[in-house]
Assembly symmetry: C2
Homo-oligomer: 218 residues x 2
C-alpha cells in the first residue's frame, strides 16, 4: 500500500519539525495553543475577546491560518496582539513547516502565550502536530449537538473543548448535555468551557484557565 | 516537486472513475447532485425537507458521507429515500471510488434524482469530482457572511449556493447581501437560494428548481 507509506512519511517529517518548534518555544518560555473548529464557529472572535481581556497581563502572539484573505489577522492585530497571517492557498490545514516560517516573522521577545488559529475544518487539522502545548477544539451551538460523535478524531486529539454561541440556545434545538456527554465519551479528559463571545458569558473562566496555563499551573 | 505529482496522479485516477460514474448515471437517466458544506450547516436537514416534499413526484436516492456514525442515513431513510451510508473513518472528503462502491448497493431502478451528501468540510471536497451533474454549496447564516471570500475554492467549484438558517437572522450580525456579493464575485454564474429548513421558507423555490433540473430544463 504505497499511498499509506507516503502519508506516514509526510506526517513523520511534520512531527520532526513540530518537535523542533516545541523545543524553541519551550526555551523561550512561550506556551502555545492550537485552536481548531469548523468554519464560522468563532475562532477569531474568541481570540479577539481573549486578547482584549488578557493583553494587559500577558504578551500574546497569534499565527492566523486561512485559505485566503488577511481579514482575520487584521481583526486580531486591532485587538492588540502580535500577528502573522498564513494563507494556505487551498490547503485544508496548517503544517509544522508553515508555523516555523511564521515564527521567523513574529517578534517573540514579548510573547508568553501564542495562539495558532488553524484553518476552519473539523477533520484534517487533527492529524497535524504543530508543536503546540495544548489543542483546543471550538464547537458552536449552531452546528448541532451531534458534532463530537460525527467528527470524533478532532475531539479525541484535543485537551480542551470550548462551546461557543451559548446566547443562541433559545432559538436552537441544541442539547448541550448531549454534546458534552458525546465529547466526554470520546475523550474523558477533555476540559470543557461554555461561552458566548457575544455576551461575554463564560469568558472569565476561560481566561482564568489560560492565565494559569501560562504560569505553568495547568 | 514529487509531492505535487503524486497529488495530481491521485486526482487523475479519481477523475477517470468519476467519468465512468457519470456515464453509468446518464444511461440510467439519473441526475446527481453533490451537496457540500461546513459541519452543521444543515445538509441532512435540507435533504430531509426536500425528500418529504418531492418523494411523491420523484424517485430520490441518497449517498450519505460521514467520517463516522450512521445517524444521517437513518434520518434520510426515515424521510423516505433509498439510502447508502459511507463512513470514511477519518478521511475528510468523498472520492469517486467510494461513490462507485455505494452505487453498487443502491436500488437504482426507481431513482431519478440522486443526492450525494459529502463530508462536512468547506475545503477538501471541492477538489474531488464524484461524477455529479451539479455541485451545491450550502452555507448557513450562523457561520458568518465572510465564508465565500475565506473559502473561495468551494464557491468557485459549485453551480448552486443555498443559504440556510434564514430564521436566525434577527439574532445574528450576518449581512446576506454581503455574502451573496462575495460569492458572485468569485463565481458570477452561481444560482442562489435562500432558505430556512426550520420554517420552510424558500424551499418551494429550491424544490421547483430540482424538479425542473431532473426533467432536463436546467
Amino acid at each position: 500500500m504505497p499511498k499509506v507509506t507516503i502519508a506516514q512519511n509526510i506526517l513523520a517529517v511534520n512531527d520532526t519539525v513540530a518537535q523542533e518548534i516545541r523545543q524553541v518555544l519551550a526555551i523561550r518560555g512561550i506556551r502555545t495553543i492550537n485552536v481548531m473548529s469548523s468554519p464560522g464557529a468563532g475562532k477569531t472572535t474568541l481570540l479577539e475577546r481573549t486578547i482584549e481581556r488578557l493583553r494587559g497581563e500577558l504578551g500574546i502572539g497569534v499565527i492566523e491560518g486561512d485559505v485566503e484573505t488577511t481579514a482575520d489577522a487584521e481583526r486580531i492585530e486591532a485587538a492588540g496582539a502580535e500577528t502573522v497571517q498564513i494563507n494556505t492557498r487551498g490547503a485544508c490545514h496548517l503544517e509544522a513547516h508553515m508555523i516555523r516560517d511564521a515564527l521567523a516573522q513574529l517578534e517573540l521577545a514579548r510573547v508568553n502565550l501564542l495562539f495558532i488559529e488553524n484553518i476552519g475544518n473539523l477533520v484534517c487539522p487533527a492529524a497535524w502536530n504543530l508543536g503546540e502545548d495544548r489543542r483546543v477544539v471550538l464547537t458552536s451551538t449552531t452546528e448541532g449537538d451531534d458534532k463530537p460523535a460525527k467528527y470524533p478524531h478532532m475531539f479525541a486529539a484535543s485537551e480542551v473543548m470550548v462551546v461557543n454561541k451559548l446566547d443562541l440556545l433559545p432559538y436552537l434545538d441544541y442539547d448541550l448535555a448531549k454534546a458534552k456527554r458525546q465529547a466526554l465519551a470520546i475523550n474523558p479528559r477533555l476540559r470543557i468551557f461554555e461561552v458566548s463571545c457575544r455576551t461575554g458569558a463564560g469568558l472569565d473562566e476561560w481566561c482564568a484557565w489560560l492565565t494559569a496555563f501560562v504560569h505553568g499551573d495547568k
